[in-house]
């Protein structure tokens, strides 16, 4: 668990980060969102002491971050940055093994961990382990960057715009992969992004920052249903909030029993979001859709139920 209290940083008299308090539970992903210069990256970089805080306290699993040397602290925290920063003169395997080697793991254990991570990120070890970063696509490089950060099983990951430099398709795919890996491995992470959609997609809680302060910290749904007046309301964007709320829910939550039958032309899977289901219903101008698993209808979903989730007052 990470507990931050009174975290403050001033640059030349100007306060960049102003007395922040927040906690991140084990297995939770917290997103720090805000416009450029709101202090979110500075906050992140104080957590692994790339920037030393002026005031405040950072506790990681009950231990004060100032008690350990910065290098030792950083080896226990995974760090992913926008530019990836893979070492171009090292192979993929050497890159991923960086921190385990610093921690003096024996060679066999490092190799086993590298192969396990490559497998987790869908990169065939026999094909990719000995390649150099320049031989990889942007998406593959970013996967290796995340794998490298996770290599030594750190207590948490710090991610600064991790998917920011990728095209929308690759970014979406990596976001899905990250969510899938989280479900299998349980990742504790603090994610900095200016992309509200990315925050909604990846985070359990979102902290909206402006001018060095956290204005509101809440779950995505509560942020959408009850944003504070002013900056939060403007930044979260209320135009399509009903649709955004729908994208936070899955079809399986609203499934009603239905008779077994072969799959019709239009259907949804239990893991699809309500937003996808809604879009299909609008397109078909229908009021219910079949839920299909393995080619057979297993349930159905009603438009009225979906509209109720997207309406004010639910939560």
């Amino acid at each position: 668990m990470i507990r931050v209290t009174g975290l403050t940083k001033r640059f030349d008299g100007a306060t960049a980060v102003n007395s922040l308090d927040f906690e991140v539970e084990r297995g939770e992903v917290l997103a720090l969102v805000g416009t450029s210069g709101c202090g979110k990256s500075t906050t992140l970089r104080m957590l692994n002491r790339l920037i030393e805080p002026d005031e405040g306290r950072i506790e990681i699993d009950g231990r004060d971050a100032r008690e350990v040397s910065p290098d030792a602290l950083r080896r226990g925290i995974g760090y992913v940055i926008q530019g990836v920063g893979l070492f171009p003169h090292w192979t993929v395997a050497q890159n991923i093994g960086t921190v385990p080697r610093l921690l003096r793991w024996d060679r066999g254990r490092v190799r086993a961990r590298v192969e396990e991570l490559l497998d987790l990120f869908g990169l065939e070890a026999s094909e990719y382990a000995d390649k150099y970063p320049s031989e990889l696509s942007g998406g593959q490089q970013q996967r290796v960057g995340v794998a490298r950060a996770m290599a030594a099983e750190p207590a948490m990951l710090l991610m600064d715009e991790p998917f920011g430099a990728l095209d929308p398709v690759t970014r979406g795919r990596l976001q899905d992969e990250f969510t899938a890996i989280r479900q299998r491995r349980g990742i504790t992470a603090i994610l900095v992004t200016h992309d509200m959609d990315e925050a909604f997609r990846l985070a359990d809680r979102i902290a909206v920052m402006d001018a060095g302060r956290i204005l509101q910290i809440d779950t995505p749904e509560r942020l959408l249903r009850g944003p504070r007046e002013g900056f939060v309301r403007q930044f979260v964007g209320l135009d399509d909030r009903a649709l955004r709320i729908l994208s936070l829910h899955r079809v399986s939550e609203l499934s009603r029993p239905a008779a077994d039958a072969p799959a019709p032309a239009q259907w949804v899977a239990p893991g699809d979001t309500l937003r996808e289901a809604a879009s299909r219903l609008i397109w078909e101008a229908g009021d219910s859709l079949a839920v299909v698993e393995n080619g057979r209808v297993t349930a159905e979903i009603h438009a009225a139920d979906i509209w109720r989730i997207g309406a004010r007052g639910e939560a």
């Binding site: 290098d71 950083r74 530019g83 990836v84 920063g85 921190v99 610093l102």
Partner: protein, 242 residues
Amino acid sequence: MSRGALALLVALALFAALVLWPGLMTPLLRLVAEPGQALLYDRQPIRVLVAWHLALVGAAGVVASVVGMTLGVLVTRPRGAEFMTLARMASNLGQTFPPIAVLAVAVPLLGFGFEPTFLALCAYGLLPVFENTVAGLRGVPAPVREAARGMGLACSARLWRVELPLAAPVILTGLRLSTVVNIGTATIGSTVGAVGLGEVIIAGLQSGNTAFVLQGALLVALMAICADLALRGLERRMSRAG
């Protein structure tokens, strides 16, 4: 074999042949010689001159590289940044001050021969190594540096395992420029009695013997070409590894 390696082999073979059997040059030298003049320099065996020439350039190259690289690393550290201007001035001075002037100043202090020439070459060879070390280290991409720091690589590990290997091809270019320039510049050492290939050229100039000048100049040029090709090959190998 690559074209570079082939060129190096040919240049080296030619150079070795002309050093071991200077007589091979006589047909060429005869074209420029006055009738009755000696064609081949024979006051010292050519291989002795070549050995001293190499020793002089090599020793100065080692000193210039060690000093240039150390300075370059120091001024790119956060704590050494304030010495940047000073170091740049010092290494610029070494380059702008003509080596012949260095010799004139150094001879009264160090005497004639190897030492003043060595000093002049050290000063002259410093700038390319220093500037390229700085450029190479600054050229390490910011995300790479940030990632190295964020993963907990200690200062020294960042320098030795990340920054220097990535800067190596650029630093090596500086080393090559410094060496090639110094192979030519070393000839002026013969004006103050340093043993080297300059001796052949100076002897030719003093006695109006164009054949000597041509013989000395050809050997120096070939030596410079060999060094250039060899170091270029090394650079290519290094940037391929990167």
